[in-house]
């Protein structure tokens, strides 16, 4: 009986180790956690109020800051959605959900590699962005994808700054 307990304990420990190792390299694409409501900090406890300053009225029609559709960028030779891209896509998804525009996601790659490879990479980048947006609740039927590979660079210099600019997914309204 004691042996059996030891066996089970060691097996569970090893499984735990394995699962832990597995999670380290997983590319983060599941956005279900991001759709949850953002944590709103609890309002600070009210201190005894000093004499109130005279009320100042806000300007009558202060416009809300305009949301802007943002391109997303990728690491070299990768199509996983980075953390900065995820933030941009959350913002983009809000905009797309607020209207009915149809969108084309263009996948781009930097100049390095072969044309065929870059077309495939651009397609994977565009598809990754589409999946992310649909996971965020944007209707898949509104999004089409296209890959331009390295054919339409945004920047034409030959250095990392420029290559990073070109490793992007760009949005166009259809």
């Amino acid at each position: 009986m004691k042996n059996r307990f030891l066996v089970l304990t060691s097996a569970l420990f090893l499984i735990g180790l394995g699962l832990n190792g597995c999670t380290k390299g997983v590319v983060k694409t599941d956005v279900t956690g991001m759709k949850t409501t953002e944590a709103v900090p609890a309002p600070p406890a009210e201190a005894p109020a000093p004499a109130k300053p005279p009320a100042v009225e806000a300007p009558p029609s202060a416009p809300a800051p305009a949301l802007e559709i943002t391109d997303v960028f990728f690491d070299f030779d990768r199509y996983a959605i980075r953390d900065d891209a995820a933030k941009a896509l959350e913002n983009d998804a809000k905009i797309f959900k607020g209207n009915s525009m149809k969108i084309t996601v263009e996948g781009h790659a930097d100049e390095r590699g072969t044309d065929e490879y870059n077309i495939a990479l651009g397609a994977k980048r565009a598809a990754a962005v589409k999946k992310y947006l649909t996971d965020m609740g944007v209707e898949a039927s509104r999004i089409t994808t296209i890959s331009y590979g390295s054919e339409r660079p945004f920047c034409k210099e030959h250095n990392e700054t420029c290559w990073q600019e070109n490793r992007r997914a760009h949005f166009m309204e259809k």
Binding site: N3, R4, V7, L8, S10, A11, L12, L14, I15, L17, G18, L19, G21, C22, T23, K24, G25, V26, D75, F76, D77, D110, E111, R112, G113, T114, D115, E116, S150, E157, H158, N159, E160, T161, W163
Partner: protein, 111 residues
Amino acid sequence: MMLKMLKRILFAALFSVSMLSVDGRAAEDLISRRVSGKVVATDTEATPNTIVVKAKTAKNKDLIVGADVTDKTVIMKRGGAASLKDIRPGESVELAYTRDGKVVATSIAAK
């Protein structure tokens, strides 16, 4: 009874190893390559410096290799030591590089 226990331990151990190997695959292996081709451009102002070479694949497709040039990159021209500024667009070079998340030139030899 003993055999059953051993089987369970073996199963658990194999399961753990398989999980760890999945994780191990996520880490990209260092790839070393060597290409011959013509220099498209060099950038000695950028940090890091870069070189872009157009080569051909085994299937005769154009392959663009853009690599960072670091202090450790060995640069040779006509058999002598050189710097990146000595390498001009259009020249034929042999470029050795590593790829591990980024492409870094290990040697550049201009003919």
